[in-house]
């Protein structure tokens, strides 16, 4: 008893479980069909978690979900995998591939993904065809796709295959109509095909009063016309008109788009053709006009419009007035004319799209759709790597439609596509046409700015210059100016950078960018040695940033960002002032900098600059105080100059031993120092001043032996003469300067004057009065402003006396 109950419970439990997941799976299928693939996936996963045994049905549902998500390629792959899976593999076999292919094909068709749809229909029909409405509709859809691509033979094969299915019955009527239509299409249909099409149409007409009936009547009449049986065609069309009107009314009541699908469109059109053939032009015009007005959306609309227009022209040519307007529906017909081409284009079937576009463009060359079509056709040619045709189209678009915004966009799209396709030369050609035909287009500055980014060097700068020149009021002109300025700055072309920054700063509204630009402007002037303008800009920047720092609500971040600019601006102000010879101001500025930015990386540099400026001002004690900051622990780059300047200041303040010692520290530690010879010179002077003449001569002789700079050599030569003790040696040193220094050099000329002057007493001492007179004469002549005239005159008098004595002594000689 217990055992039976347990078994019953198990069975009941299992049944309940099976029932539960089947319901859930149906729910998944329903959600997929309704277009909720995401929800379907969630429900499926939940079901599989609860009922792992439902996995058996999951692969098919997963594929359906993929299809609903329009992931057609992935779904097709899954169907193929499912079809080939064997028992025992991890992938469950799919038993129902046909219905999946059909679902995929229909969904892809609705989504206008025609290549996917075609491929799926092909797979579906390869596995056979069923005698149901779904298969017939699939045959119609597939056949239409094939016909649109011109694959008539393949379409015919499909129709034939479907019509061979046994017990097909009335379901086959749509296929029969399509097949009949196919059989009579083309330039010269075969008589046998016409007969077969006629039979198909008659069979459809016997099946009921519906759209297919109407279509069959139309095709049947076309067959009669092709057979030159105009009277028969006219008679049938006239007699069937009432029945077709009934179908039209039913469609209208159902809310169907009768202007698009009503069989009256084709019927009336063909009736018009029959009347025209019979010479009843007025009656024909009425029919054509009716089609145009009432069924302009149908496939018959454009032809009806053309024929009505031709008849209207005919009547007007006879001097009659025809009060009908054939332009009202033109745009719809035009749109339809481009539709096929456009579909091919969006399916990326460019080779097929191109002739379709040309056909439509020659029909509607300058309508509303034309520019869009020209754009798409140009893109097609670019994708087909046919630059000649692409150029032809683009030049035409730009020139002929220069007043249309869309034409400008078309050229831009062409340039873009050419770039995408790596056809760079063609892309630039397109952009050149764009600027040629649409120089004032709203996007022109932005486009030029973007193109500049794709170019290098001179070409890039040329684009920026064009923006500035042609679009001075555009925001891009400011950006281009900025780019030109920064570009020159990075290339260290500072005079050019300064010119661009000057213009750019006025146009820049972003305070941070303006700060950076002002600083770069000042730096450009500094690097160009234009100290005055550099100083002005550093001052402007410092003031502006200080003002900004004091303004209401300034953020900490802004203060942090601005601080380095204030710091550097102030430091370089000191540098510029020093260069401009405004040494006192330079000292004050460096002092202010040191006080304000005590932890700055420039503070030691500022101390050094301040100290050297103080030496220039001969404020040696203050200078020594400034150099006191530096000691052995200081960085060499600061310590080297500091030791030199300190040595100089100590010399100037008479602290010779300290000077010698300080300079020794520099010379012994860094014999390769840039200050070596200058330090030697000062040290030589200190030695001399300290009475250590031989040390002085040694130090100065080092300079004369190893230095190469003329000025330094002559300075050292003069100091050597002063340090030497033997009159002849001293005189030799002075004369070397007097004879070898460059009198045209403003720095060396005073050295010559000093050397000449300091030679004079030595001449007396060495009893060479004539040389004294000669050199004093040169001194007076070449350096009239030298001064010391009294001293010179006294020496000249003494020399003359000496000379007279020497002459008298000479005369006394036998």
């Amino acid at each position: 008893m217990f055992r039976r109950a347990t078994v019953m419970l198990l069975v009941l439990g299992l049944s309940r479980a099976a029932f539960a997941f089947e319901e859930d799976l149906k729910f998944v299928e329903g959600l997929t069909a309704e277009g909720f693939p995401n929800l379907a996936r969630i429900v499926l996963n939940r079901t599989l978690n609860s009922f792992p045994e439902a996995e058996k049905s999951a692969p098919e549902l997963r594929i359906r979900i993929l299809i609903a998500e329009k992931k057609f390629e992935e779904a097709a792959q899954q169907i193929r995998v499912g079809k080939t899976s064997s028992i025992g593999s991890r992938q469950s076999a799919i038993s129902n591939q046909e219905s999946l292919w059909l679902f995929l094909a229909d969904t892809a068709c609705r989504a206008r993904q025609f290549p996917d749809a075609e491929s799926a229909y092909k797979n579906y029909f390869e596995s056979g065809a069923k005698a149901d409405d779904a298969t017939m509709q699939a045959a119609v859809n597939y056949g239409e796709l094939l016909e649109q691509r011109g694959e008539r033979a393949m379409a015919r094969k499909i129709y034939e295959q479907v019509l061979k299915v046994p017990d097909i019955g009335k379901s086959a009527r749509p296929v029969k109509v399509k097949f009949a239509h196919l059989l009579i299409a083309g330039d010269k249909p075969m008589p046998a095909d016409l007969d077969r099409a006629k039979k198909l149409c008659e069979a459809v007409q016997l099946g009921g009063l519906d759209l297919w009936f109407g279509q069959a009547v139309i095709t049947w009449s076309q067959i009669m016309i092709l057979k030159e049986e105009w009277g028969e065609a006219q008679s049938v069309l006239e007699t069937q008109m009432e029945l077709l009107k009934g179908i039209n009314d039913v469609l209208e009541k159902q809310g169907q788009p009768v202007s698009l699908i009503s069989p009256l469109a084709g019927t009336r059109y063909l009736l018009g053709a029959c009347y025209e053939h019979a010479g009843k032009k007025k009656a024909a015009l009425v029919q054509f006009y009716n089609v145009y007005v009432q069924y302009g959306d149908s496939e018959w609309g454009p032809q009806a419009q053309e024929r009505a227009q031709a008849l209207k022209n005919y009547f007007e040519g006879l001097g009659k007035t025809v009060k009908i307007d054939l332009g009202a529906n033109l745009s719809k017909m035009e749109e339809r004319a481009f539709r096929v081409a456009r579909r091919l284009f969006f399916d990326k079937q460019y080779a097929d799209a191109a002739p379709a576009y040309l056909e439509a463009l020659n029909k509607y060359p300058e309508g509303d759709e034309s520019v869009a079509a020209l754009r798409e056709l140009t893109l097609s040619y670019i994708s087909l790597n046919d630059p000649l045709s692409a150029k032809t189209l683009a030049a035409y678009t730009g020139e002929r439609f220069a007043s249309r915004e869309a034409a400008a966009d078309a050229l831009l799209a062409a340039g873009n596509r050419a770039l995408d396709e790596k056809q760079t030369a063609l892309a630039w050609w397109m952009y050149d046409r764009y600027f040629e035909f649409f120089p004032q287009h709203s996007r022109a500055p932005a486009v030029l700015y973007s193109l500049a980014e794709l170019k290098d060097g001179h070409e890039r700068a040329s684009c920026w210059n064009r923006i500035i020149e042609n679009y001075p009021d555009s925001p891009y002109a400011a950006r281009a100016l900025g780019r030109l300025a920064w570009d020159a700055y990075e290339k260290e072309d500072y005079p050019t950078a300064a010119g661009h920054f000057e213009k750019y700063i006025g146009t820049e509204t972003d305070s941070q960018k303006q700060t950076r630009a002002r600083f770069a402007l000042a730096e450009s002037y500094r690097f160009s040695s234009d100290w005055k303008k550099a100083l002005e800009n550093f001052q402007i920047l410092e003031k502006a940033l200080n003002r900004a720092a004091e303004s209401y609500g300034v953020s900490d971040e802004a203060l942090k960002l601005n601080r380095p600019f204030i710091e550097k601006s102030l430091f370089y102000q000191g540098t510029c002032l020093a260069k401009l010879g405004e040494t006192e101001s330079a000292v004050q500025t460096f002092a202010r900098f040191i006080a304000t930015f005590q932890t700055s990386e420039f503070v030691l540099q500022a101390q050094l600059a301040k100290g050297s400026a103080l030496i220039e001002l001969r404020r040696y004690d203050d200078a020594l105080a400034a150099f006191a900051t530096f000691d052995k622990t200081s960085d060499r780059k600061f310590l080297e100059p500091a030791l030199y300047y300190r040595g100089q200041a100590l010399f100037e303040t008479g602290r010779y031993s300290e000077s010698i010692q300080t300079l020794d520290a520099l010379l012994s530690n860094w014999p390769e120092s840039a200050f070596y010879f200058e330090a030697k010179l000062v040290q030589g002077r200190s030695y001399a001043a300290n009475g250590q003449n031989s040390d002085a001569v040694r130090a100065l002789s080092d300079i004369l032996s190893f230095a190469t700079d003329d000025l330094l050599l002559n300075r050292a030569g003069l100091e050597l003469g002063r340090a030497q003790t033997a009159p002849a040696e001293k005189l030799a040193s002075f004369q070397r300067v007097a004879l070898l220094a460059d009198p045209d050099s403003p720095e060396q000329a005073p050295l010559i004057a000093a050397a000449l002057y300091e030679s004079l007493p030595l001449y007396l001492e060495l009893s060479r009065p004539q040389d004294l007179l000669n050199d004093s004469g040169r001194l007076a002549k070449d350096f009239p402003m030298f001064g010391k005239d009294d001293e010179v005159n006294v020496m000249r008098t003494t020399a003359r006396e000496q000379l007279a004595r020497f002459e008298a002594q000479e005369e006394k000689k036998p």
Binding site: L361, L388, T392
Partner: protein, 257 residues
């Protein structure tokens, strides 16, 4: 070939016959059997009943003589390739039939004959005289295109270019198509073969409705392609022969293949 073109030009000018008539200032047509004009614009019409009516300038809208016999001579000279002779005869007709309709017809034909002889300056001058007297001729795309060629050939490139560009940008479809061919010629003459090709090709692929211009544009497309050593030249020569077998360009294309 040249003869063929000239004859077609002459016939295109509309050489028609008919009795002389005067349309008076009230718009009434008065038919006659003979008509004469004087240099000062006075027209004498002999009516069908033998009466002579005198029309002073301002009293008639239009006077028209019957077809001058000299027109037949012009046609004969053109047929024989004597374009200079035809031009001389046309000048005579212009003088002789002043104010009688045929002066303007002769002027139009003379402009075309001068152009065919590459007397560009004379052709341009003749067109200018004609356009001044009959402004409607300046709106006819074929005559505009001829005038542009005359301007271009006589070195008045700027004037020609301005007209050509204006017609291409905003003229009628026919005017644009014709101007494109003229511009193509101008560019080709200055060695800009690709630019010329773009104009010819544009006409061929986008102006199919301009059947009067298509044979020439197609042929010139082929020639430009050939100059650029593009293998598609053969395709276009073939196209000229196949699609326009009756045109004079089909004849030249045969030799160019």
């Amino acid at each position: 070939m040249k003869k063929f073109m000239i004859l077609s030009l002459l016939f295109a000018a509309g050489v028609t016959g008919g009795a002389p008539f005067v349309i008076n200032s009230a718009g009434t047509q008065i038919d006659g059997s003979a008509i004469q004009s004087a240099a000062d614009g006075i027209v004498l019409l002999t009516t069908l009943n033998g009466q002579t009516l005198t029309f002073r300038p301002g009293t008639y809208r239009q006077a028209f003589a019957d077809k001058p016999k000299e027109m037949g001579q012009v046609e004969a000279l053109a047929r024989n390739g004597d374009l200079a002779g035809a031009a001389g005869m046309l000048r005579q007709i212009k003088e002789q039939y002043k104010f009688l309709g045929w002066d303007q017809r002769a002027s139009l034909m003379l402009a075309r004959v001068e152009l065919a002889q590459k007397n560009f300056k004379a052709a341009a001058a003749e067109y200018e005289t004609l356009f001044a007297a009959q402004p409607q001729f300046e709106t006819i795309p074929a005559e505009r295109a001829n005038y542009m060629q005359a301007l271009s050939g006589s070195g008045r490139t700027k004037e020609a270019a301005a007209m050509v560009d204006a017609d291409i940008a905003s003229g009628s479809r026919e005017a644009a198509a014709r101007a494109q061919v003229v511009r193509g010629d101008m560019k080709s003459a200055s060695g800009q073969y690709e630019e010329a090709l773009l104009d010819y090709l544009r006409t061929v692929i986008l102006f199919r409705e301009q059947t009067a211009v298509l044979p020439e544009a197609t042929y010139k497309t082929a020639v430009a392609l050939k100059k650029m050593k593009n293998p598609r030249a053969a395709e276009y020569f073939q196209k000229v022969m196949k699609e326009f077998p009756d045109s004079e360009f089909a004849e030249i294309a045969k030799g160019e293949r």
